[in-house]
Amino acid sequence: MRDYLLTLVSVGLAALALYFLTVSEGSSGLLSALTLIFIWGIAAISLNLINGQLGILSLGHHGFMLIGGYVTALLMLPARERRPFRTRLLSDWARNHLDLDKWLRGLGLDVLANSIDAKFIIALFIAGLAAALLGIIVGAPSLRLKGDYLAIVTFGFGEIVRLLPNAPEVASFTNGPLGIKGIPGAAGTIWWTFLALLLVLWFFSRLKFSSYGRAFEGIREDEIAAEAMGVNLAYHKILAFTISAFFAGVSGGLYASYLQSVDTQTFNFFVTFFLLVAISLGGLGSITGALLGTAIVVLVRVYGGFLEQPNPAWVGYLSGAVLMLAAFGFSAYIRKARRLRPVIEPKHFIFGAVGAALLIVTIAFFKQPWMQQTVQFFGMRKMLLAVILILIMIYRREGVMGRAEFSWKLIFGPREDIPTDEQRQQDAWLSNPDLNPGLKEEGDDDASA
């Protein structure tokens, strides 16, 4: 009861904070960052179901999101955007018939058709269903394959889905490489994404502790044992893929609506990579961890822009030198703390040497025009994400949260590492030879031996 109240209060507080953010001036950057966190959070949580809870490495999530994005875009496209010259490759049939507005009016549901919000919810639902259909197809190979082969198959599916919209025959539905523009930005309001994320959090936390969630985790730990315990492998695997794809489709729809446009480059393999970094960082198998990881990764992406600002070239050389020297010093520090000899490992001299060389070059050629010219380091953020992922894999494979979930017990509950009085009494009983005859005998045995 207390936990529910706390949850309600904190959600209310978050909503209040969001409200103040939306009314205050100059917070649009933060708002769009939050919107992105919510959208990507949904996608990351859904990917976490397969990668973390089911224990199958899936690399095709961008395909699900793409389907969701395109379906939402087509269904929501307003009448004025459906003119032939705007959407040159879209066939007349697709232009005229794939229209949620018409469908609803045809069913006599004018009330829904008049509200863009209601239409958006329905479109998102249909987008989710379309993605879920693909999820069944992508999930089917998991019955035959395992491990990295399966990962490659899911990657292949994702890439096929990404490449298909550009093909001439399919372009009549997807507008080809031009993509679909002019989607009404209903999700641009942060409230939509916030509500969607709350729903997803609720659903996935319920799912995780249900019999289905236990079955997924059983499959992750040991398929054969799970099957022996009566878990239907095929059903549960496909189910996980379907659920995950559904919510990926929803988040794809939200993202398309946030951008107000969708094309094949919106959902390329980088999307899956990005989500993979997020859930690995947060902790595979943890829903709140996935959200935390997403927040970190999105913030790196949004606020890491300064890394790619135009700068004089010497800034780059200097930061390279500082990084190299720092790595050199850090390795020496670690080895010293661990009492390893020699303090400086011979091959780590390369960091020091390169760093020193860069420093010397920077100082020696500081006046040269090529040192002063302005350059931009595009791709620094992506490189940073890649480095983060490699470091996680090497040094902390379980991520920040591991498989633990955030819970109120964690903050307010009794601490589990300090024994309660009752536990102490039990321990005393266990260790007291007068009260515990088993202990006495053992001790005697030891003494005689």
Binding site: D148, I152, L164, K382
Partner: protein, 387 residues
Amino acid sequence: MTASKISSRSTIVSLLIGAVLVVLLGARINSLENYTFARVVQDFLNALTLGSLYALIALGYTMVYGIIRLINFAHGEIFMLGSYFAFYAMTLTPLPWAISLLVTVLLGGTVLLVLRSLFNLEEPKRTFVLSLIIFGGTFFLLTFRKMGWVEGLALSMLATGVAGVLLEAVAYKPLRGAPRESMLITAIAASFFLQNFGQLVFGARVRGFNAQTILNKPLNFHIGPETVYFTGILVVVPLITALLLWVLNMFVSRTRLGKAMRATAQDAEVAQMMGVNVNQVIALTFFIGSILAAAAGVMYAIRFGQIHPLMGLMPGIKAFTAAVIGGIGSLPGAVLGGLLLGFIEIYVVSLFPTLSAYKDVFAFVLLILILLFRPSGLVGEDLTEKV
């Protein structure tokens, strides 16, 4: 890494499928009116070239998978690095002697260190001769004249081999013994890192790779009224590939290190107990794989005339498909798969021009189908997990 026995049933099935395909192709060729003998020759040459390139890249995938069961996602980026190294070697030379000296010391030193650790060259005399060759050769190549494609190819192969060894040491070595999924994730991250590193260092734009060589000179000839568009590269690629394959085969089958490699592929643990330095063998595998990828990268750049930092993506995926078709872990399988994929790609586009938009999709479909229905490939060993 050994060609295993193929069961008679699967042979019959493969032969049947092959026969059906041949009949279908024949029918299609018959129905195409403008499919003349000249086009047959042209397609054959193109397919052989493309297939050779795929085979070279696929060898790197298959060797690494055979040794440490890692799908080296970053292999396509190694291929990209190879073409860029050659590009810079061929456009920036001749360098002023001071810079050339600096580059020689840095590059030659790294190459020498890596080669020494890979090939057990502790003997002082050998090391001296080797360092003389490497330092002298690099300095000579960099300083005196504009580098041609042969020198560019050689230098790029060495440098890329070293880059591959460094990649293994930095990203994969700390993960020895980790779950295979973790290693795959690391490989994907390494691939992304190298792509963006390439964009940062080499620039994101497409560059023309104008090897002013005899290789790109049009040597068109006629068969009847039709022209066959022919350049030297169409012959050189298969020849160099054949040469490299011969050297590789000799290395793997005849030398002590090759034997150590085969042993490690069969069972790393037992090989280690028998005194094989497994770390060295793994580094060596990456070195050889990267060398082959660099050769493919340079020839790919000469063949198609342009390079960019994301160029490794599709050839990488296709070569991986080729490795899977052949049976991942098997060297002859990778070559067979590469050639097969090259021929399939060229002939599908040539015979069914409307399908050319699905060229890339087709590679993925093939990959999925093979993984699903014959994960051991054409000649590979069975890798399915046993209880």
